[in-house]
């Protein structure tokens, strides 16, 4: 019962956060000194495309729809929320007319999701492994060296590391491709290997940084936990080091990592956007960049709204499941 109330409370907060995020997105185009619709029309005109007045009017109407600039402020807001939340429709892409924006997003989403998920997972496993081992003997030389490396890696932004990796492994030492080209028939081995090959450097730029953080935090956790009563008891009971580490210390070190993940999702998403752009990786980041370069405002509004909502949702989900996973917290 109390658990239900807890979940309901969180869901209400989540709904409010989404409303807040949508409100921010709604007001952004209205804050600036210029009218985005006229700016967009000027851009189209300057690109040399001739349009007769009827066409211009039609385009203006569609842009006004996109930004929800018709009617009173309240009507605009209602239409805007309706468009995003209930119909999930952002109209046709202007640069790849008439492909719907949602279709482009659906094609890009698996790439971003796959990149973030696989690199987070790899970094998490490696980081926990190294962190546990070096936290077990925090003053040994190898563990100090490991921590030193981690401290030097963690503060570097993903896109800087992406740049360094691409300079080293695509320009100086040409082993990985400069830009992403995926080839091969669907579900063939060639396709899979080409995906892995092309995603390797973008993924590494995320893996290395996140790995650095896990090593730092898991090491600190482990070296504190192994001095606790329960760990000492296990040692006195004559359990092997390996068993103490995996059965006693690891579960306790894992729990706080979940809250960290909730705080990091936004930052990781930010980082992956730029990494994708630098590597021409066909995910959401590249789609946003294309939209910016082409002045495709339907696509821009769609990708940005969706990514804001996705990150907020992921953060809230992790926030929600954390207390459910921790057996020490009781919902009475």
């Amino acid at each position: 019962m109390h658990l239900l109330r807890f979940i309901a409370g969180r869901l209400v907060v989540y709904a409010l956060v989404i409303v807040f995020a949508l409100t921010v997105l709604f007001f952004v185009p209205r804050l600036g000194p210029t009218d985005p619709v006229e700016a967009m029309l000027a851009k189209v005109a300057s690109q040399g495309a001739y349009m007769d007045p009827a066409q211009v009017d039609k385009l203006r109407q569609s842009l006004i729809d996109t930004f929800g600039l018709g009617g009173s402020l309240w009507e605009q807001y209602g239409a805007f929320v309706n468009r995003i939340v209930f119909s999930a429709d952002f109209g046709p892409s202007l640069s790849m007319y008439p492909t719907p924006v949602m279709e482009l997003i659906w094609n890009a989403l698996p790439w971003t999701f796959g990149l973030l998920l696989s690199s987070t997972l790899i970094a998490w496993i490696l980081g926990n492994f190294v962190g546990l081992l070096s936290g077990w003997r925090p003053n040994s030389n190898s563990s100090r060296v490991m921590e030193g490396i981690a401290i030097c890696l963690y503060p570097i932004p993903y896109y800087i590391l992406a740049l360094v990796l691409s300079i080293l492994f695509s320009y100086v030492w040409k082993i990985f491709p400069l830009t992403t080209t995926i080839r091969g028939a669907p579900w063939s081995w060639e396709l899979v290997s080409s995906i892995v090959w092309n995603s390797f450097l973008p993924a590494m730029s995320i893996v290395i940084v996140v790995f650095g953080w896990w090593v730092i935090s898991v090491k600190a956790q482990t070296s504190a936990l192994k001095e606790e009563e329960f760990a000492r008891y296990a040692r006195l009971k004559g359990l092997s080091d390996g068993r103490i580490l995996t059965a006693y210390i690891l579960p306790n070190a894992l729990l706080p990592q979940i809250t960290f993940l909730a705080l990091q999702i936004g930052l990781m998403f930010n980082g992956s956007l730029i990494t994708e752009i630098l590597f021409d990786y066909p995910g959401l980041g590249l789609l946003i960049y294309t939209a910016v370069l082409q002045g495709d405002f339907n696509l821009l509004m769609g990708t940005i709204s969706l990514s804001v909502i996705a990150v907020a949702t992921a953060t809230m989900i992790i926030d929600l499941i954390y207390p459910l996973l921790d057996p020490r917290i009781r919902h009475r």
Partner: protein, 279 residues
């Protein structure tokens, strides 16, 4: 002060050293520049590093070394202003929320949580794209403050909440001290160490986010920042031309600056944690 030098962790010194180098390069050297390094064709184009041009020149005829000092200066100033405003606003609102409680606490906490859930970069990209393709540095700074004050605020609120229940606060309260005095004399020392660490961290986040925006050409390309240097280098195919020093120098500067900032911030929080233990 004496205890600071004997007890502070090694990483704090190392970080301070790195920061000192960056501050000398970015804070003092720009005054000595022979001319405005931003001006195109103020030097011969595409030079390799030499005695006259220490880090070579760009394809636009700019001296990379002096450009780097300007870029470092602008990036550091942006980071300091963003972190300063975020910390002041965050500490103030966090204290207000934790100390006052009630509806004020609930409203402020909601805004903190909501802002923490929203990714900054997409919003910045959207604004840049909508308003002429580039955001001026002051606007970037302002937006970064809006998105970064919740971090200190949340932490300060948590500290203030536990403080309200502590004995010595009660003692101070019953001996008739005013609440402003309690805030300043008794609660502030507890959050000062952590806030300093967070301040440094926000400098890092501020510089990093602006550079991310700049690397894809959406920050002000007319100002030299570390990110815009990378943008111009990529745009003029510095890599294909083998001009690794041009693109490499801002990259190395960012890496050293960020490692320095991180070492100082984590050293400070280690130290303030140790101090709290010893009390």
């Amino acid at each position: 002060m004496r205890s600071f030098f004997t007890h502070a962790p090694f990483r704090l010194y190392l970080g301070l050293l790195l920061l000192a180098v960056c501050i000398v390069v970015g804070g003092i050297l720009p005054w000595l520049a022979p001319g405005d390094p931003l001006v195109w064709y103020s030097a011969p184009r595409n030079q390799n590093p030499s005695g006259a041009y220490w880090l070579g020149t760009t394809s636009l005829g700019q001296d990379v070394f002096w450009l780097l000092t300007y870029a470092l200066r602008n990036s550091i100033i942006l980071g300091l202003i963003v972190a300063g405003l975020s910390t002041v606003i965050g500490v103030f609102l966090g204290l207000a929320a934790g100390y006052a409680g009630g509806w004020l606490d609930r409203v402020l906490s909601f805004f903190m949580d909501a802002l923490l859930c929203i990714p900054t970069l997409p919003i910045l990209i959207l604004m840049a794209a909508l308003f002429g393709g580039q955001l001026a540095l002051p606007i970037v700074g302002l937006l970064l403050v809006v998105f970064n004050w919740p971090y200190p605020a949340r932490q300060v609120r948590a500290v203030a909440l536990t403080m309200r229940e502590r004995e010595f606060i009660n003692v101070a309260w019953f001996s008739g001290e005013s609440s402003t005095r309690i805030l300043i004399r008794h609660i502030f020392p507890y959050i000062a160490g952590w806030s300093a660490a967070n301040f440094i961290n926000t400098v890092l986040v501020g510089i990093s986010t602006e550079s991310a925006l700049a690397v894809i050409g959406l920050s002000s390309a007319q100002q030299a920042t570390l990110g815009t240097m990378i943008y111009w280098a990529i745009n003029y195919q510095a890599l294909l031309g083998g001009k690794y020093v041009w693109i490499g120098s801002p990259v190395v500067a960012i890496v050293l600056l960020f490692i320095g900032l991180f070492l100082v911030s984590s050293g400070l929080s280690m130290q303030s944690a140790a101090k709290r233990m010893s009390v």
